[in-house]
């Protein structure tokens, strides 16, 4: 589904990613861990197409297409979704209006008819049922005055409604208390399917007790220093990041 090769990227002329190689297949959950400043969020932003990040080398192939050539909205329509670490507040626009605009943008790409507000509410209710949430946030402006937990939950709700093939969760667990974390993780697990995949970026091993990854990668200084199974996450939890040596070949 996703093949990242020798990816170098940075912001303001400073290189942050220094050669990432990563392959994700349908049905897999990959976790990216690493200390602050290792490039985790940069990787997520580059995949989503943030204009401030410049790719200087390497390639990202998504379902046979050059992902880096696509605008952020084209990536979204192709099934890439990023849950933001810091979700943005939008003035005036209600969550329901925003979600319907997003769903209809995607339907337009798929040559499907737009959903009117009534049809959309039906789709929304179904999705809320799946993840076991209520629609209490729907009539409020997007993320405006939301608590930290509500903002993160709102990201997962968007993911549920937009049904991405590849979901990138950028530190969705940061700042959440244990109940909110469980609720978010449960929702992510319920959305897991053999034909979609997730890349879970996190600073804390704790999340991975609830979203069990197939693979764990440790990022250090812009490269994947170590890859393994979920056991690697536990090892990091007990030993910290210091024992991870810089990847071989870094000059």
């Amino acid at each position: 589904m996703l093949e990242i090769k020798d990816l170098h990227a940075g912001v303001d002329g400073v290189e942050i990613l220094k050669g990432i190689d990563l392959t994700i297949n349908a049905g897999e959950v990959h976790a990216i861990m690493g200390p602050n400043g290792s490039g985790k969020s940069t990787l997520a932003q580059v995949l989503a197409g943030h204009p401030a990040y410049e790719v200087t080398q390497g390639s990202v192939i998504y379902e046979g297409r050059d992902l880096l050539e696509l605008e952020p909205e084209e990536r979204a329509c192709a099934g890439v979704f990023m849950a933001f670490q810091y979700p943005i507040e939008i003035h005036g626009i209600t969550n329901a209006y925003f979600l319907r605009a997003a769903v209809n943008a995607k339907r337009k790409c798929q040559d499907l008819e737009e959903l009117d507000p009534i049809d959309f509410m039906e789709v929304l209710e179904q999705k809320l049922d799946v993840i076991g949430w209520t629609d209490s946030l729907m009539d409020r402006p997007v993320n405006h005055g939301f608590s930290g937990g509500e903002k993160k939950r709102n990201e997962i709700l968007q993911m549920a409604v937009l049904e991405p093939k590849l979901a990138v969760l950028d530190e969705t667990d940061s700042g959440l208390d244990i109940d909110a974390l469980k609720a978010v993780a449960e929702a992510v697990n319920k959305l897991r399917r053999p034909d979609n995949a997730s890349l879970v970026v996190t600073h804390y091993q704790r999340l991975l007790n609830f979203i069990v990854p197939d693979f764990v990668h440790v990022l250090a200084k812009g490269r994947i220093a170590k890859s393994g199974t979920k056991d690697l996450a536990h090892e990091l939890e007990s030993k910290g990041y210091d024992w991870i040596k810089e990847p071989a070949g870094v000059v």
Binding site: G49, E71, E73, F84, I88, I90, G92, K106, Q158, L162
Partner: protein
């Protein structure tokens, strides 16, 4: 262009003709008020940008043009055309004014509760109705603003709404001011008086529309007296022609436990200056001011608000959003005066400005004058283009950049429109905001193609 000084003299001599002819025979109290007003105007003349209250807004367009009084002209406008300009609001009650004069045949006021008076001001100024004499011209201070002085000098007609004690006006009542100038620059001075007695409630929509694309001038003053525990929703929609000038004062005076919510939407005119003055003169009074300006081209809109907290335990909220495209310019002044003894004042002011093009400009100035020590006054202002982070956020949800830009701009407008309690009006204004956005987008595309 004519010198502002000559123009001032013209209005003084116009006044002499005005009070000698068409307006002779008015009661003495009214004539005295007018005389005082023209003296005031004659001594101060038009404001200039050297005047602190006018430093961001030049009224040269008005001060250097000789506008003729339009009051006597009654062009006949087909009813169907008039109806087109009535804003949907779920109510049939509408007072129509053509070039500042009340038109009984175009208006409909059937169905108002007993005791309510809704009519042209001219019908009641000479009628001996005490309420009119008691309130007219008593709140909007001519010393504050030369345009108010001019309005008072030339006041001849406008709307009069009286709601007696404990009477609820269920349906909104609309005041529609249509200007059809035709050929030469004309000025109208609509003058409105709204009185809500103790425990009364009403929703009023004041709407200004230009029927022609001419340069004309509307100089409007609305005074609202809101007695104990009364509630007034006042909506003001300014859709003058894009060549027009619009100067206005909305003055409210509130007693104990009363509530005034004013929502003003500015879309039209080349130059618009709207002074909103609210006096909270009874404990527990609340006042909310919401404003949306959405302009383009070289339009200029200035909101100058003054809220006076004269008694303790009063609250005021101000929330003004401006959307400025092309070379449009917006000004917001938020003056809050907390009088000595007005303890436990709670006041919040927010002014957000969205600049959609590099040529657009906005100035925002809070002015807090606090003479009490136990008060809460906060203010905040923002200014800038569309937030890149918000744009990216929407794009990652599949919404293309242009649609996302429109959506974010729309949200800015809707934030204010959501304060409107009349659903039909809110929906109609929503359409107008959308239409303006689409127009802006089309203009941008056309410009990019050149």
């Amino acid at each position: 262009m004519t010198k502002a000084l000559d123009v001032k003299d013209k209005y003084v001599s116009d006044f002499e003709a005005f009070s000698a002819n068409g307006e002779s025979g008015v009661p003495q109290w009214l004539q005295a008020l007018r005389n005082e007003a023209i003296e005031r105007f004659s001594s101060v003349g038009f404001p200039t940008t050297r005047d602190e209250r006018w430093r961001f807004t030049s009224v040269a367009r008005v001060a250097e043009t000789k506008f003729a009084l339009a009051n006597g002209e009654r062009p006949s406008i087909p009813t169907a055309e008039v109806r087109q300009h009535v804003l949907e609001c779920g109510s049939e009650q509408v007072l129509v004014f053509i070039n500042g004069r009340y038109s009984e045949e175009l208006s409909s006021t059937g169905g108002v509760p007993e005791g309510v008076i809704a009519c042209g001001l001219r019908q009641v100024t000479g009628s001996g109705l005490e309420t009119v004499e008691h309130h007219l011209g008593k709140y909007a201070r001519m010393t504050d603003n030369p345009f108010t002085a001019l309005s008072t000098a030339f006041m001849a007609d406008g709307a009069f709404l009286y709601v007696p004690s404990d009477t609820i006006l269920g349906d909104p009542i609309q005041l529609l001011f249509l200007t059809a100038s035709g050929g030469r620059p004309v000025v109208t001075h609509p003058r409105n008086l709204i009185c809500l007695e103790r425990g009364a409630a009403a929703s009023v929509i004041e709407s200004h529309v230009g029927l022609v694309d001419d340069m004309y001038w509307t100089n409007c003053v609305t005074e609202a007296v809101v007695r104990d525990n009364a509630r007034l929703h006042l909506y003001r929609v300014q859709r003058e022609s894009e060549q027009a000038n619009h100067t206005a004062t909305t003055q409210s005076y509130q007693s104990r436990d009363s509530n005034v919510a004013l929502t003003t939407v500015e879309l039209g005119s080349a130059l618009s200056r709207h002074d909103i003055n609210a006096v909270l003169d009874g404990e527990g009074a609340e006042c909310s001011l919401y404003g949306l300006t959405q302009i383009q081209g070289s339009q200029h809109v200035d909101h100058h608000t003054t809220i006076e907290h004269a008694q303790p335990h009063c609250s005021s909220w101000e929330f003004f959003n401006g959307i400025y495209d092309e070379k449009a310019r917006g000004v917001f002044t938020g003056r809050i005066v907390v009088h000595p003894g007005a303890q436990r004042t709670d006041s919040k002011q927010t002014n957000n400005n969205l600049l959609l093009s590099e040529g657009a400009r906005a100035d925002s100035q809070p002015q807090l004058e606090i003479y009490a020590d136990d008060v809460k006054c906060t203010h905040g202002a923002t200014l800038g283009p569309i937030d890149d982070k918000a744009l990216f956020y929407l794009q990652t949800r599949g919404i293309d950049a242009e649609v996302a830009r429109n959506l974010l701009t729309y949200g800015f407008g809707v934030e204010i429109l959501n304060k409107i309690a009349v659903a039909e009006l809110r929906e109609r204004l929503d359409q107008l905001v959308h239409a303006r956005l689409d127009d802006g987008a089309a203009r941008r595309r056309a410009k990019n193609q050149c």
